[in-house]
């Protein structure tokens, strides 16, 4: 059962107010992860403060790095069910967890950060993992 929207809204805005595109339907997710769309980073947001409290600031910190994906999006697990299910279909080779994060190149998942690698870690440490993934998968070929 979804949480009350007024409770969730600040957690949505923590990302959307910082340039992260909210994806609320399966179509929006499919368009976002289009194979011809370059690199895309998807944050599977969640209410659970045990992990999500570090996930959001960690992701935002990583987005300040020199190398970032072409597109940054988010779905909200437990709230935007259709979009989350479709995002997970795009990550079908890994178990579902939330919060979690995935990086795509040409519509194919190339990196995944599961929930257990977010839990209990500070935002700076989480951001370092993300930045390393950005540099490995999103840096220009001649860099």
């Amino acid at each position: 059962m979804p949480y009350p929207e007024e409770l969730v809204d600040p957690m949505r805005r923590e990302l959307s107010d910082n340039g992260v595109t909210e994806l609320k339907s399966a179509t929006e997710v499919d368009d976002f992860l289009s194979p011809d769309g370059g690199s895309a980073f998807v944050i599977i947001n969640s209410v659970c403060g045990c992990a999500a409290g570090g996930a959001r600031p960690g992701a935002l910190l990583a987005l300040k790095s020199e190398v970032t994906p072409d597109r940054i999006g988010t779905v909200f697990a437990g709230q935007d069910t259709e979009a989350t299910e479709r995002a997970r279909e795009h990550c079908s080779q890994v178990p579902p967890s939330s919060p979690s994060m995935a990086l795509f190149q040409g519509g194919e998942m190339v990196w995944f950060l599961p929930r257990h690698m977010i839990e209990g870690r500070d935002p700076q440490t989480i951001a370092l993992d993300i930045v390393n993934a950005f540099e490995e998968h999103c840096a220009p070929a001649d860099a």
Binding site: C48, G49, C50, A51, P114, H116, E119
Partner: protein, 93 residues
């Protein structure tokens, strides 16, 4: 935005590995643990008698990608537990 349940113990909400004396292993999101039992949500079990891979291989796969949430809730009696660690603390193989 921080946690809503700070009073549930340090492992509450954390993905843990529970080893049993009988050789079986569970991974799940810890709800609580005390002298009586360990309660996990969204858990998966490795049973060496029923799996083609050994526990180490299973743990390494889970460490890298996470675990499949096949069991909604499992209560493991404490006397059966031989080990309890965070999944994130499992060393890379």
């Amino acid at each position: 935005m921080g946690t809503f349940h700070d009073d549930m113990g340090e492992l509450h909400g954390i993905t843990v590995v529970v080893s049993q004396h009988d050789g079986c292993t569970w991974i799940g999101r810890c709800h609580s643990e005390d002298d009586v039992e360990v309660i996990l949500h969204d858990a998966d079990q490795h049973d060496p008698a029923a799996s083609d891979e050994n526990a180490e291989q299973w743990l390494q796969r889970a460490r890298r990608f996470g675990h499949w949430p096949r069991v909604s809730t499992i209560r493991i009696p404490r006397p059966q537990v031989s080990g309890l660690v965070r999944l994130a603390e499992i060393s890379a193989g």
